[in-house]
């Protein structure tokens, strides 16, 4: 679980923060409402999760709420038995 959490957090930092953006991001940092991942970029984050964990996330489940923090994402992944 901790490994999964860190893999997602690292990906978010690597992909969605600029080189000089030194904002601290934790598992609870709001990603969507905090302006780190916008609604368009959310599609690429969804695609990352689907590719890495071999799952299909239906559009109805891919809400800004479900993607709003690493912890929220983990909760959603549990539904797909990704732990």
């Amino acid at each position: 679980m901790a490994e999964l959490k860190d893999a997602i957090l690292d990906y978010v930092k690597k992909e969605y923060l600029e080189e000089d953006d030194d904002r601290e991001i934790s598992y609870d940092t709001p990603l969507i409402s905090g302006g780190i991942v916008d609604s368009f970029s959310m599609v690429s984050l969804k695609r990352f999760l689907e590719t890495k964990y071999s799952i299909q996330i239906p559009d109805a489940k891919a809400t800004p709420e479900a993607f709003d923090s690493v912890n929220n994402i983990l909760k959603m992944l549990e539904e797909f038995n990704v732990r």
Binding site: D21, G34, D38, S41, E50
Partner: protein
Amino acid sequence: MTNMRTYEEEVRDFNWGISEKELGYKPGADINIAAYCSDRVCAMGKGNKLALIWEGHAGEVKRFTFNDMRLLTNSFAQYLVNLGLKPGERVCLFMDKVPELYFGFQAILKMGGIAQPLFSAFGSESLITRLADAGTAAVITQKKHVAKVRVLLNDVPTLRRIIIVDDDGLKPLREKEVALHMEKEPRLESFPIYPSKAETPSVLHYTSGTTGKPKGAQHVHYSLISQYISAKYVLDLKEDDVYWCTADPGWVTGTSYGIIGPWANGVTQCVLDAGFKAESWYRFIEAHKVTVWYSAPTAIRSLMKEGDEIVKKFDLSCLRHLCSVGEPLNAEAVLWSKKVFGLMFHDTFWQTETGSMMVTNYPTMKIKPGSMGKPFPGVTATVVDLKTHEPITKAGIVGLIAIKEGYFWFVGRDDDVINTAGHLVGPFEIESALLEHEAVAESAVVGKPDPVNMEVVKAFIALKPGFQASKMLELDIMNFIRKKLSPLAMPQEIEFVPGLPKTRSGKIMRRVLRAQEWGEEIGDTSTLEND
């Protein structure tokens, strides 16, 4: 009681002199948009009235009166002058929706510069294209975006200054960089506002076309006349209103009706600098008692998607007038807003190039859901033949825009420009960027229908030898474009193909692919290479 009488009465009696007179402008006199947004409002005795209520994503709230805005824009303008910036030079604003963006915009105009706001989600390639074309002299930005500006110094030789508005001193500033802390600057009681005239350039926005690079649409200070009166009539802005325009000033709505129109009317504006979340938006309306709301169809459809129940958790009875812009507003969205807010969204149509509203719905005119409304008083609109540019006089011809009983209706567009979430994206710019990816041999980019964003970007890609189509490669290409251009330009779907449909002369036929996505007739394919 609305600001407008009936539509017919306004059309009958309207002339632009009405707006000039209300603003106290006489042809030939000085006219500076920024002076009208704060100094004039203060001179009318409203200095202590709230101009801006700003809320950040962490919930922090800042409030500025019109007098605060006057003093802060004076100081900001003086700072720009002290840096050696000159009237007529283009100064880019590359920031999130922070107060410095709104005040920096006015400061640039006060010192005679041309404000060039750019969407802060743009990647470095999108920036280079627009700054190099504009010959931009300075960029005002935030720490988190400065890396995207640093990489373009060699490509934009005119760039002399990079102004960082939130530098914390933890890392040394680099070449050409300076730090400005707007609220810590001494507040200047007076500043010699640049004596701009009606045709003096004011704001430069970029818009995408089918071919070539994005093109600049430069506006002038006289645009104030139409922005002021249309904000008053269409948005129906009044003395006690609290107005929320959800658009980012990186796009024309965010400057014409997120800065100029409402503040020239002396109205209090709210800004939410946070990503979209239905609950946050409703809470924001409730907390700040928003009365007039100007948003976009994509946002409205995203709210619809979240359902009706969530709306009931908030007291939104403060709302009294709703408008929409950016893409055609579908009838379902208009009817939904009537159901949940008790108010219909009024669709408005205009363009980056026009700078102010052209065809709109009005508070005193019956809405026909799905229609963009009727021409603004003082604007003559007609539908012309695409080839001859002559007005179409015969009834019953199917085209791209239809007129029925005086109401204008959007039918479709015939070019390759993609309207995604109300923003125009040019396929050429994306295709050019795709070619820079190591795996891409050639590509064609089209709009694909989307229930929320109207269209999203889809790319058809032929790979170079040695590369295999895979989910990982698809993700890599998506991220490549997202960072290079912007999240809006990122293909949301990639289809790997062995080759692309081309004319015999080798030109890629996007329309064949577009028709395939939209389930339309492909049309004449007689020039197809592999027919």
